[in-house]
Assembly symmetry: D2
């Protein structure tokens, strides 16, 4: 029965000042509620719907910003990597590596990330059955890494829609590792905006409470002080003003479900 | 913030004695936990996978058994109807009418059921988007009936599998009527047993907690003292011995979510 | 290697004159191309999205109109039935009975229809795996009827969308009965129009050629001289002016595939 | 109205001798039938279900083998690349680059591949709506490359199953580039074998005829002289002995459909 882990931050780094501001607010809320907090932001959105979408500062500048945020906030940092080459520089700054959903079956990326010795959080592909994440776990374990997290972010449900199958949580937990619910990508409507993904922020609170009811070890949320201004995933990021209320319910439900863990 | 409603009983009537025994146990648990209880059993399984599947006692004998159970347990009774002709005799005995999922768009059946003046509980078809239940509601309201319940029992997800989309609950609640989660049909694997449906009873507790976390007004569960012996839906009915524990968690989570109602 | 069967007509009977006109044109095209032709129109649309949708003339007047069309055009007639009670009157006029997709698992309806001795065409439910139509076939055979047709009209694919899985045709053909492709309902977007179903008529020709490529025994198409004016399913009915060209390609492809039958 | 393109070969390079043998046979069949032929084999299977799955000879040895096959058979060669680094060495040997489905939204990989100036064939992700391939096309065109092919290989349909939506072909053709049907990956059952993907080779012929009926510019097939011995994708590769018959039907149907192009 550990407290919930909270992984939160802006979808993509939007400069040091704004990213710090968002992280600071998220940390304050996590501290107040007694949650472990990890700051998350991407330095590069490598698979935007459109090539015109904002991609972020890139790995070099991005890792610098993340380093400064880490020092300033004194919190662990996670970010997503997309190539084997990114593992080494990222591992110098980050406290955990994240594998994007589309890349969750790329054997070399998984293996190289696992070899870093850092905790690795893998997002389940939208195209993957929950039980098939066992193969992903095996790939990571084969590199001698047992510090694994598995994240659900929705499964393909027809076109331009995702569904969160709550059976996913007990199935993935049965592999022996913590399971995270990515509440904001799960409400994406992929490609729903033509050249970008649309989303339904209003369902975040419902899906969060449901997932914690099913039983998770942590929550992943992209947050922003003003999501309408967000440079990526605006339609599904949670407004920081709403974060505390959502988490309070989640914590209360987690108190009920965690006895089953 | 009403207490959760519990609709429970064996899938199909299995004779007066056994059905009564199951209903009695379910009522005792509901009473103990402070839940409103409605007994449910089908007198006819009109759409079994195979024509060889057990169908129940039929409407005449079935309504007699239900009447006796109602008198003996002093609880309201709900059962499903399949034709307009069944509405009148059923309405003499039952306290609420239920429309099966496959029939949820049959205009005349909905209208005739609504005209009875009894509460009508409609199961959302596996083929229907949550928002499209508004049209079902309109059909019932057009008959002057505003005593409506809407039940989620899973949506088609590929072949021989269902998924419960937790967005369904807030969407259907927005129509202004109580929303029920059918926890046992939602874990069916339709046709998964060749000439019958398979099921995964082990997920009932997870989906129940998740649905209550998302926010529902009631739970529907098929229960049995010995599901392995059940004459219909054995693989997904809940063992009565496990019912109290599942409901306790549900009630505790409902306490947290019901403030949003 | 029989020629393709063509089942075609307006979605719903729109009065004798217009229905006859449509049937006459369809028959002329079928005759010209050497296809067996069956006239189809519904006397009642029993499951419209909205209760305000046009339902047709009803069974009594509808069967009269169908009888007159049958006499006038000298073609066999098929129409869909929704209750056991409709079987007897319908069987006096119709040459074949059709079971709607939502009702494809209603045991009594299937049995009663089969007992009529008429050929029975069952549309596969949007929620059903192709292999599970074997159970439907068993139900019909149990009534001593071996004059069966099975029709594909799309499977649920997320919300408000259908997909035609071309594996359906060889799977259903393996049961030993003719298999029909319903080209116009397969392009429906169920509920896509809010209070009615939207549709994509422009894909009819592609799906028809594909289905015939996979291998079918017949085609089902709702046709209209002016689909925009159609009282039901306008968005997916085929304009009669386009029917011949679509069928010509279908016949040419059928010549290639039928050697596998 | 061009003749169909045939992209075929073993799923993964299985040594020079066997790969050559397979390519030679495929070429002979293509020549006999008047099809343009491109040899395809992977040098690395970078996303096998399990890390124990055979991955192939790697890029260095793999490109050597491909070079020798190209010289020996005098045919163009296509192979899939997984990282930007692979583009330059691959472009020295290959005649076209292929982007795997899971990687179809990786902007840098697409851009770098397109910058090579070689034709680029992108497989549509199992998680992508057909219309969203327009964004993929835009990414390639932004690199100044207009030599593009788009390949359908099935869309996620529940868990461990794919469905080929035949509407995909006209939708993707509307972008102005040739569209290919990958007939063998489309019959995969992803993860269906636990630590590997299962498949249904028997549906290849049906789906091929259907896709050509809908309208495609080419076919992609993994072929093998003895698929049971294949080191990857055995359950869905086509036996070379059956290739000619499948292609003959495809060509005949293409003759009918290509007039619409």
């Amino acid at each position: 029965g550990n407290p919930l882990l909270l992984i939160a931050g802006p979808c993509v780094l939007e400069g040091y000042e704004r990213s710090l501001k968002i992280g600071k607010q998220a940390k304050e809320i996590a501290d107040k509620l007694g949650l472990s907090y990890v700051f998350k932001a991407s330095f590069d959105k490598a698979n935007r719907s459109s090539y015109k979408g904002f991609r972020g500062p890139g790995i070099e500048e991005g890792l610098e910003i993340l380093h400064k945020i880490k020092d300033e906030l004194n919190v662990p940092i996670i970010s997503d990597i997309h190539t084997e080459e990114q593992v080494a520089p990222a591992a110098k700054v980050l406290d955990a590596l994240q594998i994007p959903a589309f890349l969750c079956r790329q054997t070399d990326l998984l293996y190289t990330a696992a070899k870093s010795g850092l905790p690795v959080n893998v997002k389940k592909g939208q195209f993957l059955a929950p039980k098939d994440m066992q193969n992903v776990v095996d790939k990571l374990e084969s590199a001698g890494n047992n510090n694994i997290m598995l994240t659900e972010r929705g499964a393909s449900f027809g076109y331009n829609n995702l569904v969160v199958d709550m059976r996913t949580f007990p199935i993935m937990r049965s592999f022996g590792y913590p399971v995270i619910f990515d509440a904001t990508h799960s409400v994406q409507l992929p490609g729903g905006g033509g050249t970008c993904s649309a989303g339904n922020r209003e369902y975040v609170e419902y899906l969060t409470r449901a997932a914690v009811g099913a039983g998770v070890d942590g929550l992943f949320m992209e947050v922003h002080d003003n999501p309408e201004e967000g440079l990526s995933d605006g339609p599904n990021m949670v407004k920081l003003d709403n974060l505390e209320a959502i988490l309070k319910d989640a914590i209360a439900i987690h108190e009920i479900t965690k006895k089953h863990f």
